[in-house]
């Protein structure tokens, strides 16, 4: 177990930066998820921590020791790869023991650790099998087992569930979370799947274009996005982002979205903003703290069983709302969706940074 600290970490290929100025502190025993779309630099960041990529700038510290120039094998980390990377010519037992043999651990101890890992992962019946004779889920377990037997300071996971089918992924998600609780180890987990990030992470680090956009506990990041990118990335459907304008109205402010006007309870700096509101915060009925209603025309109704996703067309764009499954709506009808105080987020139109909430 260890702490991991990234200070101004960056990687460049010539003039273009793949990762730039990443600062991140990961506490001992924390499950940190690096989340972002393809090409955001999350895997590169993980590989720099692993020692598989050269570091162009900044520092990687593991347990307070700078490891920039330390070889991957001497960093005391273990990594689970997206493609599992099991050695095809070795059976499961040898795959698990391979890393231990190199570290001159006694055969009896290797046997003990392999047996323990195999037991905990349900791999005992497959120890003599080669990877080609295993299912995707079993291979995934072997890859995890290979990391566990090493008892490393830090576990690194590079999208380990993305090759599994949906139901297996749900199971493995639970198993990895249990594993984290049992080992209380420091884990860094890369994924582009926000459900994995939300359900597994102690904290989430959201990345875009090689930069960290926000770091925080899953629900904190979800509820209080610091910028429009994070707001629009998390959630399914994600937060609605539409152009709006804040207008001064005495001691308070007013929000104008095309024809609709909402009365805000606080005074905010007037100007053009991007309004963010989560689909589940929109309701058919006005609550106790209603700020007013956004009106538009129903342009799509998706009945998902437990809920209904309704898309409203406004002159500024589309707004999606997550409504009760019993709501009866028809396409083309005008609809007013009520907005409660404390659910609105305002982002700068140009920079996307949060400028206020109401």
């Amino acid at each position: 177990m260890a702490t991991v600290e990234l200070k101004g970490l960056g990687q460049r290929f010539g003039a273009s930066a793949v990762v730039e100025g990443v600062d991140l502190s990961i506490a001992d025993g924390e499950f940190m998820v690096l989340l972002g779309p393809s090409g955001c630099g999350k895997s590169t960041t993980l590989r720099m921590i692993a020692g598989l990529e050269t570091i162009s700038e900044g520092e990687v510290m593991i347990d307070g020791r700078k490891v920039n120039d330390v070889a991957a094998k001497d960093r005391d980390i273990a990594m689970v790869f997206q493609s599992y990377a099991l050695y095809p010519h070795m059976n499961v037992r040898d795959n698990l023991a391979f890393g231990l043999r190199r570290r001159r651990i006694s055969p009896a101890e290797i046997e003990r650790r392999v047996a323990k890992a195999a037991l905990s992962l349900g791999l005992e019946p497959y120890l003599e099998r080669r990877p080609s004779a295993l299912s995707g889920g079993q291979r995934q377990r072997v890859a995890v087992g290979r990391a566990i037997v090493r008892d490393p300071k830090v576990f690194l996971f590079d999208e380990p569930l993305s090759n599994l089918d949906a139901s297996l992924r749900v199971n493995m998600r639970g198993e990895l979370s249990t594993l984290h609780q049992r080992l209380a180890a420091t884990m860094i987990y890369v994924t582009h799947d926000q459900v994995e990030a939300m359900t597994m992470g102690s904290r989430i680090c959201i990345m875009k274009d090689g930069h960290v956009m926000q770091v925080g506990a899953p629900m904190a990041v979800y509820r209080e996005p610091q910028n429009a990118f994070v707001a629009g990335f998390l959630g399914s459907p994600p937060m609605n982002l539409i152009p709006a304008e804040i207008i001064a109205a005495g001691e308070r402010s007013e929000l104008r979205i095309a024809e609709t006007r909402l009365r805000l309870e606080t005074a905010l700096k007037p100007g053009a903003v991007t309004l963010g509101i989560r689909p589940e915060e929109l309701a058919l009925d006005a609550g106790a703290t209603s700020l007013g209603a956004i009106t538009g025309t129903v342009s799509s109704i998706e009945q998902l069983g437990a809920e209904t996703i309704v898309t409203l067309t406004l002159p500024e764009g589309l707004i999606r709302a997550r409504l009760d499954n019993r709501c009866k709506l028809t396409l083309g009808e005008p609809l007013a969706l009520h907005v409660e105080a404390g659910t609105l987020h305002f982002f700068d139109r140009a920079t996307g940074q949060l400028v206020g909430r109401a």
Partner: protein
């Protein structure tokens, strides 16, 4: 139904035709190897009436065949071992590492494949004489290594380049580096390709006549293909004994192929990734 039957008949006849075409000469030589020369002269294509197995003993004992056979084994085995190890290492380096001059080195090695041996043989002869390697098994082994190395590197590099990089990254994290990765990952994972080059090299070198006839003169250092030539006199050719000698030369190749083709297990990498 009729169509199906016709198709099968066409396929079977094609296979039979090809088998006769490919195996016919071999069967003919095999049958001649059990007949005496007068019997062959009388009926060249006839099957042997009595099987003259004693011809094998005669070829082996009376004609110094034991020495030729042993020389072939030593030269081919040594050359194949060296070519395989050096070739695999070179292919591993070319496939895995990005170093300055990599493309040039690759191109230089592979360019030698295009020259036919007849072009280089005279220069090679001079060099071997110069370095006292003419008429020696060591010299012949070195030449065999040089001749087969480019093709071996070429074949292996293409295969090794397809071994997923992530396996090497996993090995690095597991604590293995440099040469260990070659022994523990490249060699076992690349074994199907290596086995292929072993078979190709062994068969090619075992049958080589050109280099051996130019670079060996001492009877005690001849290899099998040269030994067969001994039965071809100036005045007459002992066709029966030539056939027997050829069969003795061919049998190890057949055995070798049968042994190694078993190990040509494709899809060793299946299940490695994904």
């Amino acid at each position: 139904m009729a169509r199906n039957w016709l198709g099968r008949a066409a396929l079977t006849s094609a296979l039979v035709l090809y088998t006769v075409y490919a195996a016919g000469p071999f069967v003919w030589v095999a049958s001649m190897s059990l007949k005496t020369t007068p019997e062959i002269m009388a009926a060249p294509y006839g099957l042997p009436r009595t099987l003259h197995w004693e011809k094998y003993i005669e070829a082996w004992t009376n004609s110094n065949y034991g020495v030729y056979f042993w020389n072939s084994v030593i030269v081919c085995a040594a050359a194949v071992v060296i070519v395989t190890i050096v070739g695999a290492m070179a292919a591993h380096a070319l496939a895995r590492y990005r170093f300055r001059g990599r493309r040039f080195i690759g191109a230089a090695i592979f360019s030698t494949i295009i020259f036919p041996p007849q072009i280089t043989i005279i220069a090679l002869f001079q060099i071997m004489v110069e370095y006292n390697l003419y008429d020696s098994l060591t010299g012949l082994t070195l030449v065999y290594v040089a001749v087969q190395l480019p093709l071996t590197v070429y074949l292996l590099e293409a295969f090794f380049a397809r071994i997923p990089e992530v396996l090497y990254e996993a090995a690095r994290i597991d604590g293995y580096g440099g040469l260990e990765v070659f022994w523990k990952i490249t060699l076992p994972v690349g074994f199907p390709a290596i086995a292929t080059t072993i078979i190709l090299n062994f068969i090619y070198l075992w049958n080589d006549f050109l280099y051996a006839v130019v670079l060996i003169s001492d009877d005690q250092k001849r290899t099998l293909p040269l030994g067969i030539q001994k039965f071809m006199g100036d005045q007459m050719e002992d066709i029966g004994m030539i056939a027997t000698a050829m069969m003795i030369a061919v049998i190890p190749v057949v055995v070798f192929y049968a042994f190694f083709s078993e190990r040509l297990i494709q899809g060793m990498t299946a299940g490695a990734v994904k």
